[in-house]
């Protein structure tokens, strides 16, 4: 039975490995995009200005309150409609299909960003106000205060929460398989169908995800230790 997992033409080992690489690529892309949304969202929420704060509130409430699968369907089918409408506007003929990778990164990035917004907002608020005051008193410019004082200190508070967001993002990419992007889940589904051995392949997929999540737990523990290196422990 295990020869089905062989690496090469006879088994699905190489396909599953490529799927794992795809999962990691989508997750990384989505997580990074999510950080951009998260920083923007947190800044908007803390800006004290009414309209940006309201937009950020609507964003986090909507995206966190609606099933991820529905958000992915919206972006996948919606972007196709949008693309074809735009192509029609430009006078282009033919059928246009959005790139599954790009749509996947944007969809999961939007979801990842809505959770990151709250994590980053909490972390920024956790930085003692005196630190920023001291920096200003030393004559630092706003940009310097942000990059030298606020962001490095915020990171320590944000890392545990961002670790959770990363794990969520990693698992949410499995939903992208509905758009036929060949990541772990999609590859396992194809292999299960063509070999009539679903249990083997879905178990293998589970093991691959467990490997990725365990590695991430380890990596984030290291990162947390690094970010907290200046803190004295009791």
């Amino acid at each position: 039975m295990f020869e089905l997992l062989a690496y090469g033409d006879t088994g699905w080992g190489d396909e599953l490995l490529a799927g794992t690489a795809m999962t990691v690529a989508v997750s990384l892309g989505a997580f990074l995009l999510g950080q951009v949304f998260g920083l923007l969202g947190a800044t908007a929420k803390l800006s004290g200005r009414r309209i940006p704060a309201a937009i950020a509130d609507v964003y986090t409430t909507l995206v966190r309150g609606i099933p991820e699968l529905l958000v992915i369907y919206l972006l996948f089918f919606g972007s196709g409609n949008l693309l074809r409408w735009f192509a029609g506007l430009m006078g282009l003929d033919g059928y246009f299909e959005p790139n599954a990778f790009t749509v996947g990164v944007i969809a999961v990035g939007l979801i990842s960003g809505s959770y990151s917004t709250e994590v980053i907002r909490g972390a920024i608020q956790a930085v003692p106000h005196g630190q920023l005051e001291a920096a200003r008193a030393l004559g630092m410019r706003p940009r310097q205060v942000t990059f030298r004082i606020l962001l490095p200190q915020m990171l320590r508070f944000a890392l545990p929460g961002l670790g959770n967001v990363w794990q969520l993002t990693l698992k949410d990419t499995s939903l992208i398989s509905v758009t036929a992007l060949a990541e772990i889940m999609r590859t396992a589904h194809l292999a299960a169908g063509s070999t009539r051995n679903p249990f083997l392949f879905y178990s293998t997929a589970a093991v691959l995800y467990l490997l990725l999540t365990s590695l991430s737990t380890y990596a984030f523990a290291r990162a947390e230790r690094h970010a907290g290196r200046g803190v004295r422990r009791a």
Partner: protein
């Protein structure tokens, strides 16, 4: 934006709401029972009990729910022994597979919530109960359980909302709950945005009601934190 189409799709999407609610309700109930058992095992000092519980939580939290659903729905049917057992009439049905996968999944998360709640009970409270001569079960019933419940409630509220969202994955194994119907309507009408707005609004409403109910229960359970008026 086609308003007539939105209006017409509303009753059809609402038709999926009972199935969504059933999936969520049944799996939460079943999941809570499993979670209590898991939490008791996890809190035990015996490694033969706490070890398997920790492994269960590790596996179910470390893999996507979609894998778990597919493993149960497509994977289990591969074993002839299982196909001939008493469980097959259930496991043959997508409905029970979805309930089982959702329940096993939420059990892992809920057991950690319960564990956190129990561990948050200050030792002094238990010590005081012992000093009053309460027995083990009495301490659990009168001291630990109420304090732990209060502590765990907000996290459990989040878990309920996550389950409402997770139930949408049942649509991947042919079940026509809200997301399944939305998917079908989208492929029939190509009106992606209209259908999405209505389906999304139904989910938002459900989650809003859940979060209001949880805060209400929380308010009822914490009279000591309310300011005297």
């Amino acid at each position: 934006m086609d308003l007539t189409l939105m209006w017409e799709s509303l009753p059809r999407l609402l038709g999926g709401a009972p199935l969504t609610l059933q999936l969520v309700g049944l799996s939460l109930l079943l999941g809570l029972c499993i979670a209590v058992g898991l939490a008791v095992m996890r809190l035990s000092r015996n490694p033969l009990l706490s070890g398997p519980a920790a492994a269960y939580v590790f596996v179910f939290r470390g893999t996507p729910l979609l894998v778990q659903i597919f493993l149960i729905y497509y994977g289990l049917g591969q074993f002839p022994a299982l196909r001939e057992s008493f469980a097959w009439p259930f496991l043959r049905e997508a409905y029970w597979c979805a309930v089982l996968a959702l329940a096993l999944n939420t059990a892992a998360y809920t057991s950690e919530i319960i564990r956190g709640g129990v561990q948050s009970v200050p030792f002094g409270q238990i010590e005081a109960a012992r000093a009053l001569g309460m027995g083990r079960m009495q301490i659990y019933r009168r001291i630990v359980a109420p304090i732990a419940l209060r502590q765990a409630l907000p996290a459990y509220g989040n878990e309920i909302i996550l389950m409402v969202k997770a139930s949408s994955l049942a649509s991947t194994i042919t079940l026509l709950e809200i997301t399944g119907i939305a998917r079908r309507l989208i492929s029939q009408t190509f009106a992606v945005f209209e259908i999405f707005i209505i389906a999304g609004a139904i989910y938002l409403l459900m989650n809003f009601v859940v979060s209001r109910v949880i805060s209400l229960v929380e308010w009822r359970l914490t009279p000591h934190l309310r300011r005297a008026t």
